[in-house]
């Protein structure tokens, strides 16, 4: 017995030594970088399909960065679908890196966990210009317990839900879409389309929209009213609006305006086949032009609500500095340049001039085939939009319109409030399951809300919704009292 114990001990010790030897070596090498005048290598993880020309472009980037801030950047892209899982494992394992893309609830959770650095002080030192360049509502909106944990992309800070129509059909039947304000207003048009256009599904599958400010998302029964009582959290599924909207949706469903599998279908409704008449989406300035270009036929939108700045619209794209970063100052220095220096910003986003894009005389640009094929980066995830070159077919006032849009938006009641769900975790788990069961069927009109909405609410009650509502209200009141 003793012998066996000794053997085990020896084994564990050997493994331990080997492992610590390995990690020790790695620490030694990476510490050296950044000192002795060597440029520090910034490890940057961001979202998107890895591109073939990344190394080529970053050679240029690094040449510039070495001169400006004595640093180089190693950018690694992680594919869209892999992102959530992979980034989480990387963060949980304490892997050393400097900058990482994050958004939404992941940003909130990881910040609360301490995975990201609070950058308020860095912003005041290394990020001065950056702080001035960014829309203040963005920085305000991503504060967690009063601290900023990342650099939001300076773009549209507000969200506006719109009804988007197929323009060909709107013109053909002379519909006056400017009067559309609610779901009910669509009825006469849907009827005409249903009767006259057999190959067109009148409504592309969508879930009826309820204009609230959601604590989690629109499936979960926790919302603040945008107009009226902005101080109290409610279950939006108990509101008259929900009943009325879902009733309308159910009538549409019965009339055959929606596909029969609307509730269960997981297929996105791609725009590239012209087989729909109306859909819902989130808009931004000149979205119609963008969508029309993507679809290759014209679409036209009318707003379903006023532009509003929500938590999720400001936290849609954030670059955070990791708590494992060995040189946060350099990382911030890089982010500062990326968001304020037009040369660097365009280089990272569009690639090398003459290789990936061409510049016209008036300063607008045009993609070359190499940009589409070999260096197609997701602009929204990288940084400040307003210092990007405009494309030749972009409207000249594009960025001004964005700024106007942001300024016109009013803040949502919970902007800057982030709920800590730890105290009610088990209730939330069962509520999530119940919502997943009921919400899709109700929101697509597949079932009769008179029957199913009360059932839904009853189940939510049994799952302890009151406890969660109380907890949200408590945290909201605390947060509110700290404001001003």
């Amino acid at each position: 017995m003793k012998k066996r114990l000794m053997l085990l001990l020896a084994f564990v010790l050997t493994i331990g030594t080997i492992l610590s030897a390995c990690s020790g070596k790695e620490n030694a090498t990476s510490d050296k970088e950044g000192k002795d005048g060597q440029p520090y290598e910034i490890k940057w993880y961001t979202i998107g399909t890895p591109q073939k020309d990344t190394a080529k472009v970053f050679e240029e980037v690094n040449k510039y960065l070495k001169e400006e801030i004595n640093a180089t950047v190693k950018m690694t892209q992680i594919d869209w679908g892999d992102w959530a899982q992979k980034s989480q494992v990387m963060i949980n394992s304490g892997e050393p890196f400097d900058i990482i893309f994050t958004n939404g609830t992941e940003y909130v959770q990881n910040s609360q966990k301490g995975a990201f650095l609070a950058i308020d002080e860095l912003l005041n030192k290394e990020g001065k210009e950056l702080k001035e360049a960014i829309d203040p509502s963005l920085l305000e909106g991503i504060k967690i317990d009063g601290k900023i944990y990342g650099v939001p992309t300076n773009k549209e800070a507000a969200r506006q839900t719109v009804y988007t129509f197929n323009k060909r059909l709107v013109d053909k039947y002379n519909f006056d879409i400017s009067k559309v304000q609610s779901l009910e207003d669509l009825e006469p048009m849907l009827k005409v389309i249903k009767e006259n256009e057999p190959s067109i599904t009148p409504m592309a599958t969508f879930k009826a929209y309820l204009p609230f400010d959601y604590v989690f998302n629109n499936e979960m029964p926790f919302a603040f009213a945008i107009d009226g009582d902005r101080e109290h959290v409610i279950n939006q599924f108990e509101s008259d609006l929900a009943m009325q909207t879902y009733k309308t949706m159910h009538n549409y469903y019965k009339a055959g305006y929606l596909k029969e599998d609307a509730a269960t279908s997981k297929d996105s409704w791609p725009m590239d086949v012209e087989n729909w008449f109306v859909r819902m989406g989130d808009s931004q300035p000149y979205a119609d032009a963008l969508w029309s270009r993507a679809a290759k036929y014209d679409v036209v939108s009318v707003p379903a609500e006023e532009p509003t700045t929500f938590n999720d619209s400001v936290s849609g794209s954030i670059q955070a500095i990791s708590a494992t970063s060995k040189n946060p100052e350099k990382a911030m220095g890089f982010l500062n340049l990326l968001n304020t220096d037009p040369y660097l910003r365009n280089l990272v986003d569009k690639g090398i001039e003459g290789v990936h894009y061409e510049k016209n005389e008036d300063g607008t640009i045009k993609d070359l085939p190499a940009r589409i094929e070999r260096y197609n980066l997701p602009t929204y995830s990288l940084g400040n939009h307003f210092i990007l070159n405009l494309y030749e077919n972009d409207p000249k006032d594009k960025w001004e319109k964005f700024k106007e849009f942001n300024e016109a938006a009013k803040p949502a009641p919970t902007l800057g409030f982030h709920f800590n769900s730890d105290p009610v975790r088990s209730e939330l788990a069962s509520i999530t399951n119940i919502s997943k069961e009921f919400y899709p069927a109700l929101a697509t009109g597949s079932v009769d809300p008179e029957e199913y909405l009360p059932k839904f609410n009853k189940k939510l009650e049994e799952a302890g919704i009151d406890k969660v509502l109380k907890e949200i209200q408590k945290q909201f009141d605390e947060w509110k009292s700290k404001q001003k």
Partner: protein
């Protein structure tokens, strides 16, 4: 090895196929239905891969599509660079991985199957322990990326899957059962070294067991996508199944983030259409389906983890 199979049959002395005709018919029909149910999805996938995209969008999946087309395969030909590269990676890790894995498992299993080996109980326990308690995802990730430094190397796809405690236990039982100690003893008396005993006596005698383990490893490596998800960022090292998963995962991402997807047209461009995805499944699955019959004959001798009385 055929002799071994025949002997087992003879011992039972009753032809297992000799059933009452009615029972036989019922069972045959039931098994036939089961077989069709197993094969049908794959046939369906093949049909969809030959359906035109327009027809899928308008009519959904159909067993007898209105328009047939080979556009999907044409599309795959268009992305052949990445596709064949991934194919090559998969074949490489499957072959190399299977070889490494078979040797590591048989070595380990043989050692702990021999009564002369003093620490066999300890090492059996060591292997067995990992079946009950695994380190979990994050510690595994730390070991592979930070201690072993395998991230973005082909070894990250091979080594984490090379050892499998369950297979070790299976092989140990197989060695115990199929190789009698007296053969080894006589070999030792004749002066054979341990290596010689292993390769010239143990190995041929245990071929059915080893072939089974090899098949398990082959399937494991061929179907693995998760290790690539964790450890590989380089497009050059992405295996085939991982490529398929990526496409599927990207599509899922698009569904959940329609606003991002619509603003980011490039997302749509990287994702093949429905029929092309099915065509990829066909091409990714066929080789392994075809190779299965070659292993299948070894299964006749069966597998046991214990409990068989000689």
């Amino acid at each position: 090895m055929k002799g071994g199979g025949a002997k087992i049959l003879r011992k039972k002395y009753r032809d297992p196929q000799h059933l009452h005709p009615v029972v036989n018919t019922i069972i045959s029909v039931l098994l036939g239905i089961l077989a069709v149910m197993c094969i049908f999805p794959f046939i369906y996938v093949i049909i969809i891969s030959f359906t035109s995209e327009e027809s899928i969008v308008r009519n959904g999946f159909q067993l007898f599509p209105k328009d047939w087309s080979i556009d999907a395969y044409h599309y795959l030909w268009g992305m052949k660079a990445q596709f064949f590269h991934s194919y090559g990676v998969t074949i490489f890790i499957t072959i190399v991985g299977t070889i490494i894995s078979v040797f590591m498992i048989t070595f380990y299993a043989y050692a702990i199957s021999r009564p002369q080996f003093k620490y066999r109980r300890f090492f059996t326990f060591l292997a067995f322990f990992t079946m009950l308690f695994s380190g979990g995802l994050v510690p595994t990730y730390i070991v592979v990326t930070q201690f072993l430094g395998l991230k973005n190397t082909i070894w990250a796809l091979i080594l984490p899957l090379a050892m499998n405690a369950f297979y070790i236990i299976i092989m140990r039982t197989f060695f115990l059962k199929s190789v009698s100690e007296s053969i080894l003893e006589s070999a030792r008396i004749d002066g054979a070294s341990e290596w010689r005993i292993f390769f010239q006596i143990i190995f041929p005698l245990s071929l059915p067991g080893i072939a089974t383990i090899a098949l398990f490893s082959t399937l494991g490596y061929w179907n693995d996508w998760f290790t690539a998800l964790l450890y590989i960022d380089e497009p050059n090292l992405v295996p085939l199944q991982s490529l398929l998963m990526k496409i599927e995962a990207n599509l899922e991402f698009m569904r959940q983030n329609m606003d991002v997807a619509i603003m980011q047209q490039s997302l749509f461009d990287t994702i093949p259409q429905e029929s092309a995805k099915m065509a990829m499944v066909v091409i990714a699955t066929l080789p392994i389906a075809v190779s299965y019959p070659f292993f299948q004959k070894y299964f006749i001798s069966g597998l046991t983890i214990g409990g068989v009385k000689e």
